[in-house]
């Protein structure tokens, strides 16, 4: 029974928190541009509005187009169950689940690419070819990063990794982890379609990557696509902050009180990390499309150096 409640709690936290991250990022970006910006809760209003609208579906589409929003959301939610929100324990844990996490998210991306092609629009195909290029460039460094932290904790289960990291004091000051952290940060930026890889707020269809793929969606389906993307973003953020900045070792007592305190700390970390992402986005400009491989290469080099550092210096 407790595990069911725990799973439900984690899902609720992830769904409710995901749009907030976008809100914070947008707000901070607006403030760096001397604007007031939209309310932090704007994405909740948008989702509510979209969920109450019907969808327009092109006649040329197949079942893939209809099924994709559900696949996106369910893959994102599955991924959300694999990362522990409080660094006690993730609801679902088994060996190799970190690799499962990578490919559950890849499944969603795969269907998104198919759905974009399915609608037969001008920009969908462009978006999915670009997304395929970016994700294939990013994947090697993602796996190397994961193996580095896996090696350091002698496990490929996220739960064990996080428990192991709790015993490392200040992991971000250790070269192996510092380098991996930056590699993962670049991956996060690329995976969540942020500047400098993509521009989430652009209206220019020709420059879009992620936005081009959801261009044909409307109403309820669009809401699901947006929510799925937001949850995926939160999953990646959670993975990074809970691996590199574990906090549960500092919370002395267990039980409901400890859980709540842990959640609170987690919330603060998410907000802090969102601000970091926003500041990073605000201080950079979008890359020329063919410069993205350089960024992916940088990420791979960082991950690989971190990997080597582990053998040189240990954890």
């Amino acid at each position: 029974m407790a595990i069911v409640i725990y799973i439900a709690l984690q899902l609720v936290v992830m769904i409710l928190l995901a749009p907030l991250v976008n809100g914070i990022i947008k707000k901070v970006k607006a403030l760096t541009q001397k604007r007031r910006g939209a309310p932090v809760l704007q994405m909740y209003f948008d989702l509510y509005k979209l969920l109450n609208k019907s969808s327009v579906v092109s006649q040329v589409t197949s079942w893939i187009f209809i099924a994709t929003p559900y696949i996106i959301v369910s893959s994102a939610l599955t991924a959300a169950l694999l990362v522990p929100v409080t660094t006690f324990a993730s609801p679902i844990a088994f060996p190799f689940d970190i690799i499962m996490l990578v490919y559950v998210l890849a499944l969603g991306r795969f269907f998104m690419g198919l759905a974009a092609l399915d609608a037969g629009g001008t920009f969908g195909g462009m978006g999915s070819s670009r997304e395929a290029m970016i994700s294939s460039l990013i994947e090697p460094s993602l796996l190397v990063s994961i193996f580095t932290i896996g090696l350091a904790s002698q496990s490929t289960s996220i739960n064990d990794i996080m428990l192991a990291m709790q015993s490392v004091s200040l992991p971000l000051l250790r070269p192996a982890f510092t380098l991996t952290f930056f590699a993962l940060f670049i991956i996060l930026i690329a995976e969540t379609s942020r500047i400098p890889v993509d521009d989430p707020s652009t209206h220019l269809e020709l420059t879009m990557v992620h936005e081009a793929m959801v261009l044909e969606y409307s109403g309820r389906q669009l809401a699901l696509m947006e929510l799925g993307a937001a949850i995926k973003q939160l999953v990646l953020i959670t993975l990074i902050i809970n691996v590199f900045l574990p906090h549960d070792q500092f919370i002395a007592y267990a039980g409901i009180g400890g859980l709540m305190l842990s959640l609170l700390v987690y919330l603060i970390k998410v907000i802090g990390f969102s601000v970091l992402i926003a500041v990073f986005e605000a201080s950079t400009v979008k890359f020329r499309f063919f410069s993205i491989p350089n960024l992916a290469a940088l990420s791979f080099i960082l991950a690989f150096l971190g990997f080597l550092q582990y053998f040189v210096l240990g954890r």
Binding site: M126, I195, P196, H203, L206, F287, R288, F289
Partner: protein
């Protein structure tokens, strides 16, 4: 070359082809030539003498002479001379010799004439429709005098054909006319091999309003308001070109104070427009900070306009014969303060963006418009000045009080987005400096002159340097103070073909950036 020398030269070389020549309005030299010899004379003027082709337009003069007339406007920019070649086409012929093969800039004008007058340019390399799309019925030509303005033709369902590029892996993407953002309509057909663009064909003209046709039934007073509404962000410069043409026909000298004030408003409009363009360039590469800096400053320029005349878009400020009101009195102090505030903010922002290497990397070497192409197509304004062509109507054909003020024309040679951005940045500072000079040196006195009754069938050019470049209006008056023909050639008309050249070889995601660096008008191109 002086007019007298040019005249004797032309008479020497083409003794049998020149019928008549007259010099009017100080610098408009009209030469009437035989329609058969138009190609060689135009080739001589453009090729041998290097006179730029400013415009070609037709006029339905069947009620006057029983014939159509085509005017070829050339400019000797060094001598501030306009040389206008006029040729008459008999209604039985309905065709004229195309000069596009020799003078490349002529291509769009000849296609425009073909669409709107039904005069066929013989020997045109690509004489497909330009202004009217495939759905416009054949045989209906809106700018002929016998076409009723309110007539609504029956549209057919024919589509426009685009140039096909074939080859392995080459595909097309159609973009627009409805876009994801709130921008003007235009259809872009890209032929691509992967991301690099092989060819871009732009189909514009979705917003044809029949302005030139509408003007023909209007009184001179009323047509002024029409000229203000040609393009929303070039209100003042268009109305100024109109006023100048009318003032030339009337032979009226505008009071000096009005001349200075016109500079002030024209430069305010240029500053507003350039700041908007710079914001657009920054926004297209997701450089939010700089984009919103420029937008904020543009907001300030709107406030200045609102402060001065109660109208942010500067409508009803101008008036043939001067300005409508004394707008500036007792506002000099606050105006100087506001301009200095913009200047300070602009200086700070420029320092920041020029140090941002990631940003400079995006704009450098993107969308290069080669100097030779820019010259052939008569690219104007910042688009031309970034490619080594230093035309500026304010210098070449000084109007208002520009000859009494000191300013430079920025000139860059690389022709990329960076150069166009720098031209616009430089011009922002120049505009501010001009406005400050105006406030300092402006004489006191009246600000308007009343117009005498205008004679019929008089012609004159009005030329201004719009924010986007050389802006040319030509007016022929009709009976009872009306307009017989009003030809407007906005800078966008020259620069759209140049944009298509600048784009090729770049990748698709860079197109919006290149497009924004030119920032051409759709509505101001499609009258």
């Amino acid at each position: 070359m002086t007019i007298i020398k040019l005249k004797s030269n032309l008479l020497d070389i083409f003794p049998d082809d020149i019928h008549r020549s007259t010099l009017i309005n100080d610098n408009e030299f009209y030469i009437q030539v035989d329609s058969r010899s138009i190609v060689k004379i135009c080739t001589y003027l453009n090729g041998e003498l290097g006179y730029a082709l400013l415009t070609i337009f037709a006029n339905d003069e069947r009620t006057l002479t029983g014939k159509y007339a085509i005017y070829y406007g050339f400019a000797d920019r060094k001598k501030s001379q306009l040389i206008i070649i006029k040729t008459e086409i008999a209604p039985t012929a309905m065709s004229f010799q195309s000069i596009s093969a020799k003078v490349h800039a002529a291509s769009s004008y000849e296609r425009e004439i073909k669409d709107l007058f039904g005069l066929i340019p013989l020997g045109h390399p690509d004489a497909k429709r330009l202004v009217l799309h495939g759905n416009w019925p054949n045989g209906i030509y809106p700018l002929r005098k016998d076409y009723d303005l309110h007539h609504k033709p029956h549209f057919s369902k024919k589509e426009t054909k685009f140039k096909k590029i074939t080859g392995e892996g080459v595909f097309e993407i159609p973009v627009g006319p409805v876009h994801a953002g709130i921008i003007e309509p235009g259809h872009f057909r890209f032929s691509l091999a992967g991301e690099p663009i092989l060819n871009l064909e732009a189909q514009l003209y979705y917003v044809h309003k029949g302005i030139e046709k509408m003007a023909e039934s209007m009184s001179i007073e009323k047509c002024f308001y029409l000229s203000e509404r040609i393009s929303g962000d070039e209100t003042f410069t268009n109305s100024l070109a109109y006023c100048q043409a009318i003032e030339k026909i009337a032979g009226v000298e505008v009071p000096p104070r009005a001349e200075y004030m016109r500079v002030l408003f024209a430069e305010l409009e240029r500053l507003t427009s350039h700041l908007g363009d710079l914001a657009g360039i920054c926004l297209d590469v997701a450089y939010g900070f700089a984009a919103f800096q420029f937008r904020m400053m543009r907001g300030w320029t709107y406030l200045i306009a609102d402060d001065l005349c109660g109208m942010r878009f500067l409508r009803s400020v101008n008036k043939p014969g001067g300005l409508r009101m004394e707008f500036l009195e007792s506002k000099e102090k606050s105006l100087i303060d506001q301009l200095m505030k913009i200047k300070k903010e602009l200086e700070d922002t420029v320092v920041i963006i020029k140090q941002n290497t990631m940003f400079i990397d995006r704009v450098e070497n993107t969308g290069i418009l080669k100097s030779a192409i820019a010259f052939d197509l008569n690219a104007v304004g910042p688009g031309g000045r970034a490619s080594g062509i230093s035309h500026d109507v304010r210098k070449n054909f000084p109007y208002a009080a520009y000859d009494k003020l000191t300013f430079d024309t920025p000139n860059y040679v690389d022709g990329d987005v960076n150069s166009r951005m720098r031209v616009k940045l430089d011009e922002c500072f120049i505009s501010i400096s001009l406005m400050l000079q105006v406030i300092e040196t402006m004489p006191k006195g009246p600000i308007k002159e009343s117009l005498p009754k205008l004679l019929s069938h008089q012609v004159a050019f009005g030329m201004t340097e719009a924010p986007r470049g050389e802006n040319i209006h030509w007016i022929m008056t009709g009976e009872n103070e009306t307009i017989f023909r009003y030809k407007i050639r906005t800078p966008s008309f020259c620069n759209w073909p140049a944009l298509c050249y600048a784009v090729s070889g770049n990748i698709v995601p860079d197109f919006p950036l290149i497009n924004k660096s030119f920032n051409l008008s759709y509505a101001g191109n499609d009258l």
